[in-house]
Subunit: 374 residues, 2 copies
């Protein structure tokens, strides 16, 4: 129950153990085609450029920047956690100029600040932001940010690593342009793949570049010759065949459950966990209307030791939760209820484990105090 | 029996289906440490920077160039097949200047030409070459090329995708500096990971760069904080946990068999296949002393149709072999005897299938001729 990878469903694990076939085998091409259609469903898009990059979400982020940013390009980057900072790093490594809009870690992106940054940088052509900040459990208003970008003639470049499959990511309805995610969060697949979708507008920008994409491996122009339409596929790299079996199965399961039902499940389980944790006196970092149901960031109660509790959960309950990152290190825990991990039995396990550990820690503290006062 | 992915051993498939644990879990860190030691064995090196990149071999190639090449750097690139061409592309995308040394597809790299290129480009600091050309089945003299590079104060950047585990790759003894491979060839693991090793000399070059590595995802300085020494690992990206279970198991199996035994097995099976194919009148593209035992490139006999034979092998024998690439398209087949695929039963299947198909094609041709002459 950390911030991902989430538990992987046995059906997905079994799929990954099927015999490896060739990456140009016609049966495998059929599977790729199904993966693309299923990802279009997950992203709620008709974008033809919708496929999984053969590398983790961090590479998905880089692929979006590497394709869209050229040397000298100004990019407005919103930062309210770890991954906004990584976006800045990516812009710089592509030779772009990041215009930073910073918000407190644990708060959503402030649309007024973004509006101001876009207004004072009329030559910016990309607005990059994290929809669901994995480091803080905050959801930002992707639709509102997309509207602002559109008004200022900018493309949106969006991190949906933690949101996809767990809460609405409506690519077409919200008008998002380049979106990347990860296989290991709410899709309940093993880590290692990064679903990506590019709008027609974003694709035009890639096609009209003045310079080649600096990464050969991530160049969409080349990748799409392999992931593109029709029976004729051009070899680009050897696809991670078994990993794609797994992603395929996880997407089939999402389709079976239904996207809306998956969102509902994540929300309902979050509310139950919240009640349980609050009953133990554990408070949430993020204000109610900005919380991600799949990633519960809670403040570490003053009397408890971060590392002690996390290692106790691991040792006695075989339960992993996430630590805080950056300025939140030592201040918060991150409890994932993602994908297959978002189940009532996990909530019971988690709340029960916390209750027991808090009692133990409290009892031990009493003993310590008594000993010290002797 | 294509040019990779090879058949994956059931033990490796089973390993990939084990439950996913956290990428920062201490049990997983232990597994990472074992993978590094096992890869040092496979590469025959004591390089501390020896790890699997979380992406396919093509990304491994790019990682080597992105870390070692800076804008304006001259790189001598040998091309005698597809992958030398991809190296050129990588040099250019890193802002480097490729100095090409070209040899015929199907021949080994000519050391005299390389010597001449190094002599006339004394400012070049990298010699890049493919040890085992997957597109042609040719092995080049890595030790000889490394000696030349050393004499001219160049680092070597070496593609060992198809050689690692199938024929000797003696990184330390030969003095190779940056070497990348793939999980899906002679290691018999699923595709998706790229084992990489960097010598101390190569690492110094990365550390003394004038500019940042243009790829965040492939920046060795950052990756090694996660794959480095000791218990303390810094999160970089979410590692492909299940894929690494698989690689670990495949490397354990290589250790059990013994590297020398694995090389012997690949060589012995190659010789048997060669005898069988030659008995059917099928000739090899590559001269005897330059052949890779794990990748048999054979000329398509004049009376046979490339696509017809390959689809017949697939349809009637469930047997995949590789087509020719580039100038060799339609002229050769590529028959892999890699890793777990390098077994006597596969040789029997392959030779038997060819014998039967050749007879069928010949009989059908006779019928056609008779019908036409009526």
């Amino acid at each position: 129950m950390g911030p991902g990878p989430s538990d992987v469903h046995p059906r997905v694990l079994a799929a990954m153990a099927q015999p490896t076939i060739g990456h140009l085998d016609s049966s495998f091409i059929d599977l790729m085609d199904e993966v693309k259609v299923l990802l279009q469903y997950a992203f709620q898009t008709e974008n033809s450029i919708t496929f999984p990059l053969s590398a983790p979400g961090s590479a998905g982020m880089e692929a979006c920047f590497a394709n869209l940013v050229e040397p000298g390009d100004k990019v407005v980057v919103c930062q309210n956690g770890v991954f906004g900072g990584r976006m800045k790093e990516n812009v710089e490594r592509c030779g772009g100029i990041p215009i930073m809009v910073e918000d407190e870690w644990g708060s959503a992106i402030d649309l007024e600040k973004v509006e101001a940054a876009l207004s004072s940088n009329p030559d910016a052509r990309i607005l990059a932001f994290v929809h669901a900040e994995t480091s803080t459990g905050v959801e930002s208003d992707a639709r509102g940010l997309s509207d602002l970008a559109f008004q200022h003639d900018c493309l949106t470049l969006v991190d949906a690593v933690t949101s996809l499959g767990g809460s609405p990511v409506l690519v077409d309805e919200w008008g998002l342009d380049a979106v990347y995610s990860g296989s290991q969060k709410c899709l309940s697949c093993a880590p290692g793949l990064s679903p990506i979708t590019f709008s027609e507008r974003a694709l035009q920008k890639v096609k009209n570049r003045r310079s080649k994409v600096q990464s050969w491996f991530m160049d969409l122009n080349l990748i799409m010759a392999y992931w593109g339409k029709g029976k004729r596929r051009v070899y680009h790299h050897t696809a991670p065949v078994n990993a794609l079996y797994g992603l395929h199965e996880s997407l089939v399961m999402l389709r079976e459950e239904g996207l809306e039902n998956a969102w509902d499940r994540h929300l309902r389980n979050h509310l139950v966990l919240k009640d349980g944790l609050e009953a133990l006196g554990i408070e949430f970092l993020v204000r109610k209307d900005q919380r991600l149901p799949q990633l519960n960031a809670v403040r570490i109660p003053e009397n408890l030791d971060d590392a002690e509790v996390r290692s106790g959960l691991m040792k006695y309950y075989n339960l992993e939760i996430g630590a805080g990152l950056g300025p939140l290190k030592g201040n918060i825990w991150r409890i994932g209820l993602m994908g297959y991990s978002s189940r009532p039995e996990n909530i019971l396990l988690c709340v029960g484990a916390f209750e027991s550990l808090i009692k133990t820690c409290s009892a031990l503290a009493t003993v310590h105090k008594t000993l010290e006062s002797r």
